[in-house]
């Protein structure tokens, strides 16, 4: 009979935590950047003159991206 505390002690929970953190942290920015890019392309498709607003779209990409990077940076803090 294997004691459950032995299993818990054998499993390295840090790896699981890091994996969950990366996975969960990248979902949001992934969706966000996808929405920004998709809406930008839609705007260009409807009105080709909107293509000059690429720089402004990239600003929002950078703002969204920060949260993914925060999740990536946190894996160095978890011990």
């Amino acid at each position: 009979m294997v004691n459950i505390t032995d299993i818990a002690a054998a499993v390295d929970t840090t790896i699981i935590g890091k994996g969950l953190m990366i996975g969960g942290g990248f979902i949001g920015p992934g969706i966000g950047i996808g929405l920004i890019g998709g809406n930008y392309l839609q705007a260009v498709g409807r009105n080709p003159e909107a293509a000059k607003f690429l720089g402004q779209a990239l600003i929002f990409v950078a703002i969204v991206e920060l949260f993914g990077l925060l999740a990536f940076a946190s894996i160095f803090i978890v011990k």
Partner: protein
Amino acid sequence: MNFIKVFASSGPTVYVAPEKVFTLYGWPISNSMIYGWAVILILFFLFIWAGRHVKIHPGKGFIGLIEEGVNFITNLVENSFNNPEVGRKYIPYFVTLFFFILFNNWTELLPVINDAFNYHKVPLLRPFTADLNATFAMGLITMGLVYYASVRESGGLKNYFQHFFVGSPKNPLFLIIGLLEMFTDLTRVISLSLRLYLNVTIGMIVIDVFAYLGHIIAPISALPFYLIEIFICMLQAYIFTILSVMYLAVAVNHSAEHSSPKDEDEYLTEDVVPERIRVESGSVGTAGGA
């Protein structure tokens, strides 16, 4: 199987923070500071040299590229303000900021960083922007300039604080929204500095990881990430600059609108115009009828 075990057991050496190389009169000198000073010196002489060789008709060489960059940021700053005269005063700072961050980011891609040169087992060179202290200092100075300039350009503290509020601060809803706006204003230092630091550091780590995974074919496996990093470094310099320009421009433009409310005559004349047309058309109608 052994092959996979090697990958799992020990990853590439990753440096997240700068390290102290030596002490100068009691001041710790870190490896990122050394690289930062080197970039400052290079930029200083490069731009003096470039400034002496500027022509009326720019060529396609290196100077043309620098001119293009200066022109780009100049237009960006001037177009962000309602009154370009106000923006023109702050162009030198933002152009310097852009090129400083750009060159510091690109030094991340040179093969001299981290383990290339060691001094008493401490890496000698590390990109300046891959250091949270450095980017935080840049964020503090930039936001300090933004606060100072927006208070000065909007004409007094009262006008400056008024731009946070949509309506009268006596309304509790507008008061809460205004206080929230003020709070988000204070988090800008942290978000600016964290964004730059994390992008550069994580770019460095990603290149490290893929060069390690590639083993013998490291140049090929790391190449796509190098190319992406060249673009991202440029993008981050652009974003740091444009965000600080926007913070300044929004504060100045908003307060200018608040402090000089539109004359009511303007609205009145707009209301009068359709009536006049109606009168004229009515008179024309009667004339036609007659």
